[in-house]
Amino acid sequence: MAVSMVQALNAALRDAMRADDSVVVFGEDVGALGGVFRVTDGLTADFGEERCFDTPLAESGIVGFATGMAMRGFRPVVEMQFDAFAYPAFEQVASHVAKMRNRTRGSVTVPIVIRIPYGGGIGGVEHHSDSSESHYAHIPGLKVATPATVDDAYSLLREAIDDPDPVVFMEPKGLYWSKAEVALPARTAPFGHALSRREGSDVTLVAYGPTVPVALEAAEAAAENGKEVEVIDLRTLVPYDEAAVTKSVSTTGRCVVISEATGFAGIAGEIAAQVQRACFYSLAAPVHRVTGFDIPYPPPMHEQHYLPGVDRVLDAIEQLEWD
């Protein structure tokens, strides 16, 4: 059956709630409305107000309240309505959620999942299309997962909820309505395992979340020019599967990292830095990055020019010293 990413996420929440009484879902508009993207659709109806409920409109409060509940044995899955609206919770995330286990030598753990729809491409007005994954990846103590496929949406979210550590679960909102034939419950690879979405021996594209389909499309186009492109989907930014990326680039000798977020000081730089070090002797060309520009996410009528698209990826591949 064709399942959308939203449906897969919804199913993951349902199945997790069914499997474990301590899983509770809350946030803004997650109850009767089912979330502005309908990811929590029907949960209140099916599990009751106690298991899925709306909160006052205050993201720091939501994450702080979740922290307190987690201290007393719950597994809160909270929704931040859009990426930029998670910023008010930044202190709670950085100073408490990420650090609680460490501060208390493992005595207090807060296995919270913070779901954040991120990225652009949906024609949203300002503050609705940010990509903040690099911020979270830069904070030790958090795991950061981001699905690119429907089955991973299910599998990674289930794993995130079961994980003993807090997980920032970044949902690529541009892919919410993407569909695939998937039989749920689907279990794919665990956290920390990148997956190759396409084999290829000439160049490695490293992508995650919203840029995986872009990479695949670019790979198809490059194939027409006789270049065999491997596409690696990271799936989790933390833990980062350095081994998989190194293995691929050691073979291909070329690498392009693709990320929708602002490039400067972002996760794509981390990956490039690791690749050049691990694959120094295999690289035929420097690692390139294709990322969002170093500008605020633009208004809807400009976003096509902001997003790292197939053409920019193909341009980057072209520049990888082929002669």
């Binding site: 006052p56 930029a84 024609g123």
Partner: protein, 372 residues
């Protein structure tokens, strides 16, 4: 011996608390009421109310047209303020030329009613740029989306204006949901501590998207938040433009004359869904919405003005014609796609683009030239 805490004058406490029931000056039948128990607020002059009527009618027509424009794909999204016209119009009528307005995404009507070109006012929602008007020229901050984050700006600007000897007050609109954010708290506190001439008007339309007021607060009413900051507070019937005007005018002169900020809660109702993209049927019963129809801010004022002889059928038709013409002009001006320059993305990031930004702009220029 006494504790060295200020001995509390109960008068001071009473002076900060809102009226126990919302101030109402004209009831829904268009009759003058004794809704202001304290007798502090005066019914505005009939000319003012007639002007408010005109703007509310035009404003509602503007709002309907904007919703229509979303169906034609001319706007990315539109959050309607239908039913909140008394606040939208009363709010800006209370402003002096030099005053500043801090609106949210829901308050496009108020921008237009203050005189912003409606096409510019719709810039954010049309999507050619984030803010379509010039805030410095209009003295209207960019419409704010991250909830309550504009409230500290209003406090800061008001304080700054006072420091500069300007006679300006900042009026910030905020939703019932927005009052739950930490920034609301911090803004009110800063405004009070620095005695900033800022007025905070909470349009309590009883929903934050789908979340009802009861999930937002357990307070007797939102106006009771003021005393916790030492801010004088009031609650009003937000669908009675006479009450909005009277209380807001008092608040503005309270602030203007150096008595500090004021908090006003306007009880109103969001007649439409949160935006055109929202499905209100999921979380509220149509019967609830129906209850608010007789409380409509326009019809009650129409009755009042007709009753006192300040409005007749002909005048009503004149206003409707004006509204229609306004909508028609807007529709035709919004009919074409605006010109956008992709390189403009790089023009306003910093005062001078860095070398990196120049290089990135070049990338975009080339891609655009190649037609990608």
């Amino acid at each position: 011996m006494e504790l060295p805490v200020d001995h509390l004058e109960q008068d001071r406490v009473a002076g900060l608390l809102p009226s126990p029931d919302p101030i109402q000056l004209i009831d829904e039948n268009g009759a003058v009421t004794s809704g202001d128990v304290a007798g502090v607020y005066e019914l505005p002059p009939v000319q003012t109310l007639a002007e408010a009527y005109r703007r509310m009618v035009v404003g509602r027509r503007f709002d309907a047209e904007a919703t229509a424009l979303t169906r034609q794909g001319r706007l990315a999204v539109y959050p309607s303020s239908k039913g909140q016209e008394a606040c939208q119009v009363g709010g800006v009528l209370a402003l002096a030329e030099q005053d500043w307005l801090f609106p949210t995404y829901r308050d496009t009507m108020s921008l237009v009613m203050r005189g912003v070109d409606p096409v510019d006012a719709l810039g954010l929602l049309r999507g050619d740029w984030h803010c379509g008007y010039d805030p410095m020229k209009e003295r209207i901050a960019p419409q704010c989306t991250p909830l309550a984050t504009h409230a500290p700006h209003a406090a800061g600007l008001a304080y700054a204006a006072r420091r500069r000897g300007e006679d300006a007050v900042a009026l910030a609109f905020i939703g019932d949901g927005g009052t739950s954010e930490g920034d609301f708290h911090e803004a009110l506190n800063f405004a009070a501590v620095f005695n900033a001439p800022a007025v905070f008007l909470v349009q309590n339309n009883r929903y934050a998207i789908s979340v009802p007021l009861s999930r937002q607060t357990a307070a007797p009413s939102l106006a009771y938040k003021g005393i916790g900051y030492g801010i004088r507070s009031e609650q009003i019937d937000g669908n009675d433009v006479a009450a909005v005007l009277a209380v807001l005018s008092e608040a503005m002169s309270h602030a203007r004359s150096g008595h500090g900020p004021m908090l006003i809660e306007a009880h109103t109702y969001r007649i439409e869904a949160h935006t055109n993209a929202d499905d209100a049927g999921r979380y509220r019963d149509p019967s609830e919405t129906a209850m608010w129809v007789p409380r409509d801010p326009i019809s009650r004022l129409e009755r009042y003005l007709t009753g006192v002889g300040a409005l007749d059928d002909q005048a009503v038709r004149r206003v409707q014609d004006e509204a229609e013409a306004f909508a028609e002009e807007l529709r035709s001006r919004m009919g074409a796609d605006p010109a956008v320059r992709p390189e403009e993305m790089f023009s306003h990031v910093l005062a001078e683009p860095t070398a990196q930004l120049r290089a990135q702009r070049e990338t975009v220029r080339e891609l655009v030239m190649r037609g990608d």
